[in-house]
């Protein structure tokens, strides 16, 4: 594996404003001190409990949030979050929504139009593709959402928990293509609270606890520390 840097975080912290009573907002530091490096071609797992700051970390990596302290060094890559059903409008057809959603997640209009055939066939929606999505079941919407989002091919793909979506057959299919993508040469950051998922799919891992990166490195080592700490707490 080539050891070329893609993204580096150095003591990154990010806050949100949250309402603290009448006319007062206070800073809530979702991330306090996170440091690690992401290399080209690797799959990095981010493990941690609910509310540890994992999703906020992905938002920072995706450029949605800026670090308020510390530093995010981008070594010339474009990172994007795998976002499903982004900007779907109920009264528009599957095709129209695919175009709108594709443009929102970062594709050019032409790219979406070129890939429309793939999106339609992958979604298995058939004639429903040209029906308003208000007539769709939630499973059908999930299929369309995944088929669009999967077309996005950024340098670094950020995945928050979701691997497979939709009803059982599609869930298997989408989960398979997703896992293939993660195991391929693509640079991936995968967030999960499941140690098993990360063990199966990731080369290296980071453990986040209360906004702080506690351990970083070889997957087995990091997961070992994480599980040890879970056992102590419970």
């Amino acid at each position: 594996m080539s050891k070329q840097l893609a993204l580096s975080l150095r003591n990154v912290g990010t806050f949100y404003w949250r309402q603290a009573g009448y006319l007062r907002k206070e800073r809530f530091w979702a991330l306090k001190d996170v440091s690690f490096d992401l290399y080209h071609g690797e799959s990095l797992g981010v493990i941690g409990r609910n509310g540890a700051g994992k999703s906020t970390l992905l938002q920072v990596l995706a450029g949605i949030l800026r670090p308020d302290q510390g530093e995010l060094i981008n070594h010339g890559v474009q990172a994007a979050l795998l976002s499903l059903q982004i900007g779907f409008v109920p009264y528009l057809t599957g095709r129209q929504n695919a175009l709108l959603s594709g443009m929102l997640i970062g594709l050019h209009r032409k790219e979406v139009i070129e890939k429309m055939g793939d999106i339609q066939s992958f979604s298995e929606l058939g004639d429903f593709f040209d029906q308003p999505i208000s007539t769709y079941s939630s499973g059908m919407k999930a299929r369309l959402g995944f088929s669009v989002a999967f077309q996005l091919d950024p340098d670094v793909l950020l995945i928050d928990e979701v691997l497979g979506v939709g009803d059982s057959d599609f869930r298997r299919k989408s989960s398979e293509v997703m896992q293939d993508k993660i195991r391929s040469d693509k640079t991936i950051v995968l967030v999960s609270h499941s140690a098993k998922t990360i063990r199966n799919l990731c080369d290296r891992a980071v453990w986040i606890e209360e906004g702080v990166s506690r351990a970083y490195g070889d997957t087995a080592e990091v997961l070992g520390l994480y599980e040890e700490q879970l056992a102590v707490k419970s």
């Binding site: 938002q59 979050l81 982004i86 528009l92 443009m103 929102l104 997640i105 209009r109 308003p132």
Partner: protein, 255 residues
């Protein structure tokens, strides 16, 4: 300036919103016409029939005022919560926040365009034919657009930080509505108050529409030029401010 990708996104999102709005009801886009017509009919009954205004040609006089006002009011109220409403989206993908109000501004511009065409057809049918004064119409439309653009960007930039500003805006618009000469002419108010009346940009704009469309007169160029400059000034500063504070908006979300 926004990149070509985001300009495309704004255009397609505008088209999508218009389509969705038309698809949401039985008679679809006919509502864009019916909605202002019903509104105007109410004002015609109240001010034209019940209160018997003495202004000659009161119907076209009133319609011009209402069409222009509705464009102004609708755009500002519709887009007040546009950035706030985009919070869910901006947590998942990076989108320049200025995209949200710009989509609403364009959507309402299209709807205004439809109503304007109907108004012009009505005026021609009612005997107010097009003349040389129409040459000033594009300049007047651009002036009003700049004013709307500026105030809309300003309001949508502030509301996410101070949600109450939305209600303040609605009340301010309600008050302004009565002071903009929609159902009376500026010349009909006492002379010593006229100077204050003409400090209101919308009052000047509405009067300019009547000059052009009804009286075949050129509008007050100086007033329009000042309003256009004001609109351009607010537009550019509000636009820059939103762009500079772009990264703050996603932080406001979680409570």
């Amino acid at each position: 300036m926004l990149s070509a990708r985001y300009r495309d996104l704004i255009l397609y999102k505008t088209l999508a919103d218009l389509r969705a709005e038309a698809a949401r009801t039985y008679i679809g886009f006919l509502w864009w016409v019916l909605d202002p017509l019903i509104f105007m009919a109410i004002f015609y009954v109240v001010f034209g029939l019940l209160l018997k205004r003495s202004t000659p040609d009161f119907v076209p006089f009133l319609l011009i005022g209402l069409v222009s006002w509705r464009w102004f009011q609708n755009t500002i109220t519709h887009s007040a919560t546009s950035i706030l409403g985009g919070q869910g989206l901006m947590q998942q993908v990076y989108v320049p926040k200025v995209v949200f109000p710009l989509v609403v501004i364009l959507t309402d511009l299209v709807k205004f365009g439809v109503v304007l065409v109907i108004l012009l057809v009505y005026l021609w049918a009612a005997g107010f034919s097009a003349g040389w004064s129409y040459l000033a119409l594009p300049f007047l439309l651009i002036t009003q657009f700049l004013l709307i653009l500026g105030l809309t960007l300003l309001v949508s930039a502030i509301v996410p930080f101070v949600p109450d500003f939305k209600y303040l805006t609605e009340h301010a618009l309600q008050i302004l509505f009565y002071f903009s000469g929609i159902f009376f002419a500026g010349s009909s108010i006492p002379e010593n108050y006229q100077i204050y009346f003409y400090l209101n940009p919308i009052a000047n704009i509405i009067e300019a529409y009547r000059d052009i469309l009804m009286y075949q007169k050129y509008p007050n160029w100086l007033a329009l030029a000042l309003i256009a400059a004001l609109g351009l000034g607010i537009s550019t500063s509000a636009y820059r401010w939103i762009q500079q504070n772009d990264h703050l908006y996603p932080k406001l979300m979680k409570r």
